[in-house]
């Protein structure tokens, strides 16, 4: 089998080896030139994973990699300290040690990419993850609708950063996109970015509420121009979450933005990614559309809560040859 050349380095979620995207002035010609042919994109989405298959030790390795890319998330109204702590413990040790040993990867630093919580649980999570190298991400701008007044959203970011969040997932005002008020969208995101300071910012476009793929592409451009470190599909609360179609439009925008500016922007699909197979499809999409560099946690994350449980079962199946049970794996 002959394929593309191998060039790899291992990067942790907080290894900021890449220059951050500083953003650029809003350039409407680039925004408005975005085209997205829905039918053609659907066809590509339907075949991108069908064209690739990852089996045996390759699959096990890819699934381990997927774990390191997960923003292990709890964003529920009934979150309390106890389940957030449990989540953080799982983030540190996502896979049973005996299983890792059986896979011959006991030495690998396998932990999730981040833990993602509401602002009110940032402190708890930061404490729980101390020394682990796992950052805490906070959804801090009136999540999920993002319709609280901008000054309050800015304040919320400031508070989260103050509590130790190293990553901030912001949501955008959908109406700016739907009304094509790109300047307003740009200004809002740029203001958030400024407030984030050293914390990395993931901009949630809420793609399921933007109406068209073209809007998704255009909003992606504006978000990157305004200095986003990552662009992210969904809050997980929209009725349509992370689809491969959204993924194609957004990764293609990331590619074009890099061609224009030289800066690499990260990508985070979130919502609806539940199975090991889903995660492989996303990894294939990243590898094919953006290249291997986007298979590391500084440029790619999954927003997911139940994905990890399925991956654990698949890893055990690979290791033992027997289909696994949920209750054999420690819960989050």
């Amino acid at each position: 089998m002959i394929g593309s050349a191998i060039e790899r380095t291992l990067v942790g979620p907080m290894d900021h080896t890449l220059p951050r995207n500083p953003g650029m002035p809003l350039a409407l010609d680039h925004v408005e030139a975005v085209q997205a042919n829905t039918s053609a994109i659907e066809r590509r989405a339907a075949t991108v994973f069908a064209r690739r298959s990852v089996k045996k030790q390759w699959q096990a390795a890819w699934l381990l990699k997927a774990i390191t890319l997960i923003d292990l998330t709890t964003l529920a109204g009934d979150d309390t300290e106890s389940n957030v702590l449990r989540l953080c413990a799982k983030a540190r040790r996502p896979v049973r040690a005996d299983l890792l040993a059986a896979l011959g990867v006991a030495d690998l630093p396998i932990h999730t990419g981040a833990v993602c919580v509401y602002h009110s649980h940032v402190k708890t999570a930061v404490r729980a993850l101390e020394g682990s190298g796992i950052p805490v991400a906070a959804v801090s701008t009136g999540f999920p609708a993002g319709l609280t007044p901008l000054p309050q959203r800015i304040e919320e970011i400031r508070a989260s950063v103050g509590d130790g969040a190293q990553e901030i997932d912001i949501v955008v005002t959908r109406s700016h996109v739907l009304r094509h008020d790109w300047q307003a969208l740009y200004d809002e995101i740029a203001a958030c970015r400024e407030t984030c300071g050293d914390a990395h910012m993931k901009t949630i476009l809420a793609t399921g509420e933007l109406g068209t793929l073209r809007n998704v592409g255009r909003a992606s451009w504006v978000a990157m121009m305004a200095g986003s470190d990552f662009i992210k599909t969904s809050t997980g609360k929209e009725s349509i979450n992370a689809t491969l179609e959204f993924g194609l439009v957004m990764t293609r925008a990331i590619r074009a933005y890099e061609e224009l500016t030289g800066f690499k922007v990260g990508f985070k699909p979130a919502g609806g990614i539940r199975t090991a197979k889903d995660s492989l499809a996303w990894l294939v999409l990243m590898k094919e559309e953006l290249g291997d560099r986007w298979l590391e946690p500084d440029l790619f994350r999954f927003g997911a809560s139940t994905l990890l449980a399925d991956i654990e079962r698949q890893l055990e199946f690979f290791s033992t040859g027997r289909y696994s049970a949920h209750h054999h794996h420690p819960m989050a």
Binding site: M1, I2, G3, G12, N37, S39, S53, G104, V105
Partner: protein, 843 residues
């Protein structure tokens, strides 16, 4: 925060950083080590965690091999429902092109084997026909179900034998095969209703290519069976295996013996099938070269013929297209099935303003393509089918470079064992380059630029082929303006290589004729019912005297006693009366042998000029159907105006006063018929599974030559010219040789009827002098020939030059006064191409 605390933090930070640095160093070392190991070396989970490479993902081939073994890796012919050894005991090998290893051996069909197979098909015919629509539908449905039940075996065998990626055989070929049989089970069921004026042809001979062995089998067999025919099919020499599995499937479902017969062999076997007198129709898919041979071989035999031949399909990219989607379109266009696709989008025509960007994107995409073992589920490009094909690709690419093309291939190298060729772009190519003109039939695409939509259309049509085209633009106005202007049987808007059983597929120009799929495809396997009903009618009346050979007769006088004023009849070319180039005239005798007048003796130059004039009448096709209807009505009106005069002249021609009146009356009636049809011969919108409006448009064929029969000098002329004009063709007519004056009188009707210049041109003279020029003319798109059989043979032979469509009336004698036999849809269908335009939608 206290200073102490800050220091502690810094300390901790340093420690952490150290630890992390160490971790990273270790990881980087491990990654470097893993990457340095040679490809193919064992990989551990940890290795792959660092490299994130793809591994082998082989599709299981044990079941396929077990199937081959069960047959002892040797296959006979499938004739009359049984496996029959070749009469002369000869077998040939079929091999796996990816591994260059023999898979099995297959019977080599001799003429005796072909005879046997055709006899079996003939014997099965009455029973198959008597079974009726519903019975045949049940069998077709069973075939579809069985294909689905065994789909993986079909896919694996196909990839083993052909070298195509398992993803394609599994996800594209085999599902389309099942879909084709389902769809045609439906046509079988409703044939009596939907095709009530048609009957089956009889025994059909089918010869298919190696690029889509099972899919092409389905495209051939499904409509043939649905329409009540029995058949003998010859798969391609390189890829016989799935057809043999299909033969087995026919036995499994209990298909009556002899309905489907499969014989294998090379070109000689195919030729024996083509030449067999009991075969009523040949359906062929393959190269234009072989198509030409088949056209010549069947000339004059009365065999129906459909040919799906080569292509050099344009892939037109406008500046407002979604370029990332365009890139995937190119992948599907030219790197599908290793580019071994007759309709492969092999000529990218890109608007100059976005050309550099598109090229960059394509190159980046090509770097990520994967080539290799066809059974690997993670490759994009498999093996080239045979060494000779690989040589041909290599040779043509070299020639392209020698002529100045720039070659671009990805940086990775191809497997050295097996037959592989990397994805390739040739830029710096112009229409004058060989590689821009000839079909390469490999994963090689040429890249050219254009400035305006008009230029894009001109470049797209600058080819002898016309199979398919792909048009990329986000502007629907532009896409729907361009699609009808490209001369191709299929136009894909913002997609490419999309197929479905419900949509017809087939070519214009040297890409062949006939359609496969959709209702339009059914007509390839039927004939009008009246032909069967009139089977015992004698064929055409033999041509009697040569025109102008009869004895001179008395000059006639006028009632006043004065001599009549001499009337000069000319040719009618480009809307003008024109003297014949040669300056000779021919005397035309009446029924009693006395001279009735003279007509110009046209020659090849007159035909040339008439064709030129017809090409000048572009507005006729571009105008509205309503306008064409009006003009046809006006012709009828003006003909009625001169009814008495024309009737008298025709009466003298035919020696029957009543016949003259009747001839004119029926002609007026028939002009009304085609005036009526002009705006009613609608296309269809096909129901394909893709979310798409798939428009089957009836398009005029272009410039048509019509050779009229001797009988019914006005009625036959009008019956032939009417449908041709109604559908927007421009016509060059050679009127009745014996009675040309009816047509020349008619041009005076035309002159008062607003018919645009060049739409209808009349060249009188000797058929033997004019027809060859018309049939040989490379810029004539179709010839209708209504004359004696030997002439039909000549027309069909000559048509092989540019593969023009022909319609030669060689069946039982047609009753021109009968609407059933001589008017209506069959004539309109012969005057049009069906173009399928796929317009996917969704926002």
């Amino acid at each position: 925060m206290s200073e102490h605390r800050t220091e502690a933090l810094e300390d901790e930070g340093k420690k952490k950083k150290k630890k992390k640095d160490k971790e990273r160093r270790r990881a980087e070392e491990a990654a470097a080590e893993a990457a340095a190991r040679p490809a193919g070396a064992p990989r551990t989970v940890a290795d792959v965690f660092h490299t994130m490479e793809y591994g082998p993902a082989p599709e299981e081939d044990t079941v396929a091999n077990a199937w081959l073994d069960a047959h002892g890796r040797r296959f006979d012919h499938y004739i009359g429902g049984a496996w029959v050894p070749p009469s002369d005991g000869a077998y040939f090998d079929t091999s796996n092109p990816a591994r260059m290893s023999k898979l099995a051996e297959v019977a080599q069909g001799s003429t005796a084997d072909v005879d046997r197979a055709v006899a079996a098909a003939k014997a099965a015919l009455p029973g198959w026909r008597a079974l009726g629509c519903h019975g045949r539908a049940r069998y077709l449905y069973a075939i579809a179900r069985h294909i689905q039940k065994h789909h993986r075996l079909f896919a694996v065998v196909e990839s083993l034998d052909n070298g195509k990626p398992i993803r394609e055989s599994r996800d594209i070929d085999v599902p389309l095969v099942a879909r084709h049989f389902y769809h045609h089970a439906g046509w079988a069921q409703i044939m009596d209703e939907e095709m009530r004026d048609y009957v089956p042809l009889g025994v059909v001979g089918q010869v298919i290519p190696w690029n889509f062995p099972l899919l092409m089998l389905a495209w051939k067999i499904a409509p043939a069976l649905a329409m009540g025919n029995t058949l003998v099919l010859k798969p391609a020499e390189y890829t016989p295996l799935t057809a043999l599995r299909f033969a087995e499937l026919c036995a499994e479902i209990g298909l009556p013996p002899g309905v489907v017969n499969i014989i294998n062999g090379d070109g000689k076997t195919g030729a024996a099938l083509v030449d067999h007198p009991d075969v009523k129709k040949i359906a062929f898919t393959g190269s234009t070269g072989v198509g030409r041979i088949i056209r010549k071989a069947t000339a004059g035999t009365g065999k129906k013929l459909s040919l799906e031949l080569g292509g050099k399909s344009p892939f037109v990219v406008f500046e407002d297209a979604d370029l990332d989607s365009v890139v995937e379109g190119v992948v599907d266009a030219i790197w599908f099935n290793q580019g071994q696709v007759c309709c492969a989008g092999s000529r990218i025509l890109c608007q100059e303003s976005v050309a550099p960007r598109l090229l960059d994107k394509l190159r980046a995409r090509m770097e990520r393509m994967r080539i290799g073992e066809p059974l690997d589920k993670a490759i994009d490009i498999g093996a080239i089918v045979a060494p000779v094909q690989l040589e041909q690709i290599t040779k043509l690419v070299q020639q392209g470079q020698d002529e100045g093309a720039s070659l671009w291939q990805p940086s990775w190298s191809c497997p050295t064992e097996g037959l592989f060729y990397p994805p390739t772009i040739l830029s710096d190519v112009s229409p004058a380059s060989t590689v821009a003109q000839v079909e390469i039939f490999g994963p090689v695409v040429t890249f050219m630029t254009f400035r305006t939509p008009k230029e894009a259309i001109a470049l797209a049509n600058n080819t002898r082929y016309g199979l398919a085209a792909s048009v990329w633009s986000e502007n629907l106005n532009l896409a729907l303006d361009v699609a009808p202007k490209i001369k191709a049987g299929t136009v894909w808007v913002n997609c490419t290589n999309v197929f479905d059983a419900a949509a017809g597929f087939g070519g214009y120009r040297e890409s062949g004729y006939g359609r496969e799929g959709g209702k339009e495809g059914l007509f390839e396997y039927v004939k009008p019912r009246w032909i069967e009903d009139a089977a015992d009618r004698p064929p055409h009346a033999p041509t009697k005297s040569e025109v102008g050979m009869s004895a001179p007769s008395e000059p006639s006088t006028t009632p006043s006693g004065l001599p009549p004023i001499d009337r000069t009849t000319k040719l009618y070319v480009g809307g003008k009366q024109k003297r014949p180039d040669w300056g000779y005239s021919i005397e035309v005798p009446g029924a009693d042998g006395s001279p009735l007048g003279e007509v110009g003796r046209g020659n090849r130059k007159d035909i040339r000029d008439a064709v030129e004039a017809a090409h000048g009448a572009r507005g006729w096709a571009a105008g509205t159907a309503h306008l064409r209807a009006q003009i046809l009505y006006y012709l009828a009106e003006n003909l009625a105006e001169r009814q008495g005069e024309l009737a008298g002249r025709i009466a003298r021609m035919l020696g029957d006063p009543a016949a003259g009146t009747r001839e004119v009356e029926l002609s007026i009636d028939r002009l009304f018929t085609y005036a009526a049809w002009a705006d009613k011969y609608d296309g269809l919108v096909h129901q394909t599974p893709l979310r798409s409006v798939t428009i089957a448009m009836n398009e005029p064929i272009g410039v048509m030559g019509i050779v009229c029969p001797n009988e019914h000098p006005l009625l036959a002329f009008v019956s032939l010219v009417g449908p041709a004009l109604a559908t927007g063709n421009a016509v060059v007519v050679i009127p009745s040789e014996r009675h040309p004056l009816a047509a020349t009188d008619f041009y005076q009707v035309m002159e008062t009827s607003d018919l645009p210049p060049g739409a209808l041109n009349i060249v009188t003279g000797h058929r033997s002098e004019l027809v060859p020029t018309l049939a040989n003319h490379d810029d004539v798109d179709q010839v209708w020939y209504f004359g004696p059989p030997e002439g039909a043979r000549e027309v069909e032979l000559a048509s092989a030059g540019n593969m023009k469509r022909t319609w030669c009336d060689v069946g039982p004698r047609r009753d021109w006064t009968s609407d059933r036999e001589s008017a209506g849809r069959e004539f309109l269908r012969q005057a049009t191409h069906v173009k399928n335009i796929w317009v996917p939608y969704g926002e």
